[in-house]
């Protein structure tokens, strides 16, 4: 993997070039914040490009911010062009957003980074995050610039975490989920961090029809998660941001991954590998007979 310092220099140079040529209005990347923690950063000038960094703590999926760049700033204009730094997992979210007509591919200048994995703490001894250990790709599938040499991940995608739950009985699983959701505060951090969650009015906030209400008691919060996971069927790219941002450590990714495995097994489809899809829930084959 490319050295973090070298990658940082290349990102800064690319961003500086994009911003000074006026090719983009903003470059969305990472910076080190005032408390020494990596956070998303929006560079609007070539001078600000010097604040961009890259290291193995760049957890965030920046594509979620593309939701704010969909609309033109004034009538009769196109939406502004943005540059965005993406890892392999993030890049697939771009394809999902393009496929769903949320952003136009031409609007983006994608700075892809060949990612060696994000760590769970500072220093070279900190373990890699679980999602990175099972990552099946390292090279962003969509990019306009690529920083680092393209490489293939040594580990195949594996579903061991999902299989642990599958080995339980339905009642044990129900106890598992109700036990975890007991801590849910309905803060919606999972929804806000998700690039796939861009509905103007979320199902959780609709009152007509009233799906789950806003209370923090069962069954509302159990079904909120089930319904949100179902809305991400065939769209979730498994970036696991939802789980990372949960303030009460609910293993949200286990929900989405179970559905992702079902989509893979029934339709041989991984969301976000191509901007053309076709998404399994918006298409069908007239001759198919699926297990019901």
């Amino acid at each position: 993997m490319m050295d973090a310092g070298e990658a940082t220099k290349q990102i800064q140079a690319t961003a500086r070039e994009l911003l000074s040529s006026g090719s983009v209005t903003c470059v969305i990347g990472y910076e080190i914040g005032p408390r020494g923690v990596v956070r998303p950063f929006f560079a609007y000038t070539p001078a600000e490009a010097d604040r961009l960094v890259w290291n193995d703590l760049c957890d965030h999926n920046l594509t979620v911010f593309l939701h704010d760049w969909k609309m033109p700033r004034a009538r009769d204009q196109d939406p502004p062009r943005v540059g965005i730094v993406v890892k392999a997992c993030d890049a697939r979210a771009i394809n999902v957003l393009v496929q769903e007509r949320q952003v136009a591919r031409e609007q983006l200048d994608v700075i892809g980074i060949v990612c060696g994995g994000m760590r769970d703490g500072e220093g070279q001894d900190a373990p890699f995050q679980a999602r990175c250990q099972r990552c099946a790709e390292r090279t962003p599938v969509v990019h306009d610039q690529l920083i680092g040499e393209p490489t293939v991940a040594p580990v195949r995608a594996d579903w061991a975490d999902v299989e642990v739950l599958e080995a339980m009985s339905p009642r044990e699983r129900l106890a598992f989920w109700v036990g975890h959701f007991d801590r849910c505060l309905r803060c919606y951090a999972c929804r806000q961090a998700c690039p796939g969650c861009y509905c103007y009015e979320c199902l959780a906030e609709q009152v007509d029809p009233l799906w789950v209400g806003i209370g923090i008691d069962f069954p509302g919060k159990y079904f909120f998660h089930v319904m949100r996971a179902y809305h991400l069927t065939g769209r979730c790219v498994d970036c696991d941001e939802c789980e990372r941002v949960c303030p009460v450590d609910i293993p949200v990714s286990l929900l989405n991954r179970r559905i992702a495995r079902e989509v893979m097994e029934l339709f041989d489809y991984t969301p976000g590998l191509s901007p053309d899809g076709p998404s399994p829930l918006t298409t069908f084959r007239p001759d198919e007979a699926l297990p019901l």
Partner: protein, 139 residues
């Protein structure tokens, strides 16, 4: 579970085939379990997966989604979309602690009065064997 348990089944039946089929069950005077509460929708493709989840949330112990046979949909392709959605849903529900047998998706034509009775009977009995679904009492 208690011998008095009567499952609450919610059925989403498409107007053109399965609802008409259920109507034929009635006009043919074929008895079927009274546990099912029928909601008529224009097409099985109208059945948002959230409807199924909402039914369980509101106290249903089982759900039936019934539509026209593939190829016979009144709106041409609604039941194909339903097929895709619900093929994915069974195992996910089971994974969340709602047993897969509680959701039944089937195709019932307007002429299949006897078949509708059988489908409802089978679903009612398998849900009766599973017991009530009440996540609140667990965990």
């Amino acid at each position: 579970m208690s011998a008095d348990f009567e499952p609450k089944i919610v059925g989403f039946l498409c107007n053109w085939c399965s609802y008409a089929g259920a109507d034929m069950t009635g006009t043919s005077r074929i008895p079927y379990p009274p546990n099912i509460r029928i909601i008529r929708v224009p097409c099985s493709g109208r059945v948002d997966p959230l409807f199924v989840l909402k039914a369980f949330q509101e106290g249903a112990d089982g759900v039936l989604v019934a539509g026209c046979h593939p190829g016979d949909c009144h709106y041409a392709d609604g039941n194909y979309h339903a097929q895709r959605r619900y093929a994915l849903m069974h195992r996910f529900l089971d994974y969340m602690g709602i047993e897969a047998e509680r959701l039944r998706v089937d195709w019932v034509s307007a002429a299949e009065g006897a078949r509708f009775a059988r489908v409802v009977d089978e679903l009612t009995e398998s849900v009766r064997a599973l017991g009530p679904w009440n996540g609140e009492g667990v965990g």
